[in-house]
């Protein structure tokens, strides 16, 4: 210790410990400040929601940004010690995983009553907060209506080799695969993933995939709808050649994915956490979806979505039990197919 405490490094150590103390105090302080949300939703949407909530209730919220499955697994490892009070996702498989580990607290009835049955699990351990639909974003300059795939499964056809893209590492895509798994079973899913590995170009993220379609790199990509609407609302620079094809006909490719919100049983802020989810699913909370720039579907009872979107009811989505989507199996199948 003699050496470490000499004058010079002593000064350094002093400076360091001062700074570290400030930083640590800062973090401890931040953790006392209200709710901690593990946000796997888009960062911008999360911030909009939190800003609206804090404005209405005065409750402070700290957000940590990540992705669906990362957080779901992380929360399971953290167990009762999880710093999180609330978990928001883009899709439901991650909610199922945490629910399966018994880490969610039941949602208040008033909140559940704000959301129609089909957008939340029957056990009421978490709730839907928004929705998004799968689409085939295609290059309008290359594909016309009758050349589009009738079903998402058609993309496995060798005729589509090298012509389409997807973002397989993302939670969005993994939710679609989970739906496929539930609708068509393990063998069909594994086969489709194998074809995907052969035929498709992998992108990092839906928006990147859409950009690639726009740039003429591939003729189409499996993405969610709102990336297109979001870009159109801004500059349209990344989607001017892109059209959206809705598969409809209860095709796996017409899957509507429910974004979820849940409260960790271990929370020290149960009341505030319940208030948060109640706000998200309430009229003002859902209005953030309608009026903001997220272009996700509002799912609250009588909550209108953005006018520009094709109404949820017209999408003819397949019936999928959101609360039983098997994310673990999906990651296994995708790892086996060499996609991640």
């Amino acid at each position: 210790m003699n050496i470490a405490l000499n004058r010079f490094s002593g000064a350094l150590a002093l400076a360091a410990s001062l700074l570290a103390a400030t930083a640590l105090a800062g973090s401890a302080h931040a953790q006392d400040e209200g709710l901690v949300v593990y946000n796997a939703q888009h960062e911008s949407l999360g911030r909009e929601w939190i800003a609206a909530f804090t404005k209405e209730t005065g409750i402070k919220v700290t957000m940590r940004q990540g992705s669906d499955m990362q957080f779901a697994n992380q929360i399971i490892q953290e167990g009762d010690a999880s710093p999180a009070d609330i978990f928001l996702t883009e899709n439901s498989p991650a909610m199922t995983l945490v629910d399966g580990a018994g880490l969610f607290a039941p949602i208040e009835k008033e909140t559940l009553d704000q959301v129609p049955d089909q957008y939340r699990p029957a056990d009421g351990m978490w709730t839907g907060i928004a929705a998004r639909t799968t689409v085939f974003a295609y290059d309008k300059t290359k594909l016309i209506e009758d050349k589009l795939p009738k079903s998402m499964l058609d993309l496995a056809d060798p005729a589509w080799k090298g012509r389409w893209g997807a973002a397989p590492a993302g939670a969005d895509f993994q939710a679609i695969v989970a739906a496929l798994l539930q609708l068509k079973g393990e063998q069909s899913t594994a086969d489709w993933l194998k074809a995907l590995k052969e035929n498709a170009t992998p992108y990092k993220g839906n928006s990147v995939a859409m950009k690639a379609v726009n740039a003429g790199e591939v003729e189409g990509a499996i993405i969610y709808h709102y990336y297109w609407f979001g870009d159109q609302a801004k500059t349209g620079e990344n989607s001017k050649n892109v059209g959206l094809h809705y598969f409809r006909n209860q095709d796996p490719g017409a899957f509507v994915s429910v974004s979820g919100g849940g409260i960790l049983k271990s929370t020290q802020h149960m009341k505030e956490a319940q208030a948060f989810l109640k706000f998200l699913t309430s009229k003002p909370g859902q209005a953030v979806l309608k009026d903001g720039d997220s272009y996700e579907y509002a799912i609250g009872k009588d909550a209108p979505s953005n006018d520009k979107l094709t109404p949820l009811a017209d999408l003819n989505a397949p019936k999928v039990e959101a609360s039983t989507l098997d994310s673990k199996k999906v990651v296994e199948l995708m790892t086996a197919a060499g996609l991640i």
């Binding site: 470490a4 570290a20 400030t22 973090s27 931040a30 888009h42 499955m69 990092k204």
Partner: protein, 555 residues
């Protein structure tokens, strides 16, 4: 399992022996590769009365740091053991890992030679020819270091949206990383004794042959050192390659992390990545060989003449001009364009918050890394030995690990074993200290070596205790070097992405992580201020690096 575990530990021990040699080089790699500065005080060391120096406590401190450094490697070993050989086999020997390996090998084997050619040509032009504005070109040649690699990538993707795959990866890597070679090569060129070239010329070799037979071999240490540094960066780089859709182990590990947190699959990919790092460290030792190139005898070399370029000056000028356009012009123009398009609206309050948080983390992390490196730096100069060399290798290897591997280990360890440290600044800082230990050793070692041990002994002769002597003499003399160490580590922390993403406390955003989340939403406009601030923060540190390299070269 036990057998392969033993084999592993033997292999690791063997590599450490080798790493030790490369460690020696590594500490001078950035500032002046191949510098033999520590040689002089070595003689003095022998007469040091043993037992009078507080070796034991310093060794203890250095050992503690070394043990900490072994944590990530130990963790991967433990996971490997824990999941069992069958699972390891299934996760490692699969086509995906093969693909990643091919990508990595291609990337390394194309990027490194190109970078060497570029850096050596440029260094020769700026140091040994009468090219106009040589000093300006020298500054501009290292300036790209102030632009984080993933900002280079962002700039290019904005400009040419179709950029992707191996060629683009190689192209941007060369642009972003060649200064790591340029710096040591320039430093080595400056120290060369032109008398050797004269002798070669007098034996009838033409200028080209003189260059290839007399100059280039003497640059070998610098080239090996710089290449290794770039090679390790390529292994750990994440943002650059994601942006242009080129899959490497680092990107695949983050994909796995996002799909399943810290699953065995991501840890096994981490294991393969560590193996790649160790392979590179060993490979570099082999390529470098044991030859030494040193001037013997008294006196000092005269400065080398600058070669007249004549009419060749026109094509010669094209190289630095074009390179500057590619390395600095493109990032600045694209950044400027996004900033202009965004107008004042994009300068939100969060930019300021992220800027402050980045500075605090960078400075605290840099200082801590320097303190952690101090015992080892002192030992390696004043009291080398076999055990000390092993300790030193531990210090160095951890810095060659990708941030994502270190973070993966720390995430799991803190959540399972030391929960109070989970998601705190403390853990994030520990990661920074590990990742940037070698950088901290750089400045410290060089300057401790330059502080004569005789002064310490004189102080003791005048009645100071050994501790006081070190404190009052050596540490003061080493202060400038320590400052350089802090700056170097801080530069690394400013641009660090993956470990920060995975470990940072709730609500903490650095410039790098904010920039990253915005670019992932293709919100290039809002991302621009963060990129700009990162450059602003890195620029003075980069300039300091450059002046330090000149000083080490004795100019």
């Amino acid at each position: 399992m036990t057998i392969s575990g033993n084999r592993l530990s033997k292999a690791v021990a063997f590599l450490f022996q080798r790493v030790k040699a490369s460690a020696l080089l590594q500490d001078n790699r950035l500032l002046a590769s191949g510098n033999e500065a520590p040689v002089a005080p070595r003689a003095a060391r022998m007469v040091l009365p043993r037992g009078r120096m507080p070796h034991a406590s310093v060794i203890l401190l250095a050992t503690l740091v070394a043990i900490f450094s072994l944590v990530p490697l130990g963790f991967i070993g433990w996971v490997t053991y824990d999941v069992g050989w069958e699972t390891v086999k299934a996760l490692v020997f699969r086509p995906r890992v093969g693909e990643l390996l091919v990508n990595t090998v291609l990337l390394e084997s194309i990027t490194i030679p190109l970078s060497i050619a570029l850096a050596v040509t440029l260094a020769w032009l700026t140091e040994r020819t009468d090219i106009p504005f040589a000093r300006l070109w020298a500054w501009l040649a290292i300036a790209p270091l102030a632009v984080p690699a993933f900002v280079h990538s962002y700039a290019w993707v904005s400009l040419v949206p179709g950029m992707r795959g191996l060629q683009s990866g190689v192209f941007i890597s060369v642009i972003a990383y060649y200064p790591f070679l340029y710096l040591p090569v320039v430093a080595a060129l400056r120290r060369l004794d032109p008398a050797i070239e004269d002798a070669a010329a007098s034996l009838g070799l033409n200028p080209w042959r003189v260059f290839f037979r007399a100059v280039l071999p003497q640059l070998r240490l610098a080239i090996c050192g710089g290449s290794l540094l770039i090679a390790l960066h390529l292994l750990s780089e994440y943002g650059l390659f994601v942006m242009i859709r080129f899959d490497t182990f680092a990107t695949a590990i983050v994909d796995q992390f996002q799909s399943s947190y810290n699953s065995p699959a991501s840890n096994m990919l981490g294991g393969v990545l560590v193996a790649c790092c160790l392979f590179l460290l060993g490979f570099e030792v082999l390529v470098r060989g044991n030859e030494r190139y040193a001037r013997v005898g008294s006196g000092s070399p005269r400065p080398a003449d600058r070669r007249r370029l004549g009419w060749f000056v026109v094509p010669a000028m094209l190289l630095p001009v074009m390179l500057t356009a590619l390395t600095l012009g493109v990032p600045l123009v694209t950044l400027g364009r996004w900033l202009y398009l965004g107008g004042p609206d994009i300068w939100r309050i969060e930019v300021g918050t992220a800027f402050l948080q980045t500075i605090v983390l960078a400075v605290v992390g840099g200082v801590l890394a320097t303190i952690a490196a101090a015992p080892m730096a002192w030992l390696s100069v004043r009291a080398p030995g076999r055990f000390q060399r092993v300790l030193e290798a531990c210090h160095y290897y951890v810095g060659s690990l990708p941030g994502v591997v270190v973070a993966l280990a720390l995430v799991t360890i803190t959540v399972r074993l030391v929960l109070p440290l989970y998601q705190t600044f403390a853990t994030l800082l520990v990661a920074y200290v590990m990742l940037f230990l070698p950088r901290a050793m750089v400045g410290l070692r060089a300057s401790i070596a330059q502080a004569p041990v005789e002064l310490e002994r004189a102080a003791m002769g005048l009645g100071r205790t050994p501790g006081q002597a070190v404190r009052q003499i050596t540490m003061r003399l080493a202060a400038p070097g320590a400052a350089a160490s802090v700056a170097l580590a801080a530069l690394g922390i400013t641009n660090e992405l993956t470990a920060t993403l995975m470990l940072s406390p709730n609500g903490v955003d650095t410039l790098a992580t904010k920039f990253w989340s915005l670019t992932s939403e293709i919100d290039y406009v809002s991302a621009a201020p963060y990129a700009f601030m990162m450059v602003v923060l890195s620029l003075p540190l980069t300039l300091m690096l450059y002046t330090q390299s000149k000083r080490t070269a004795g100019q």
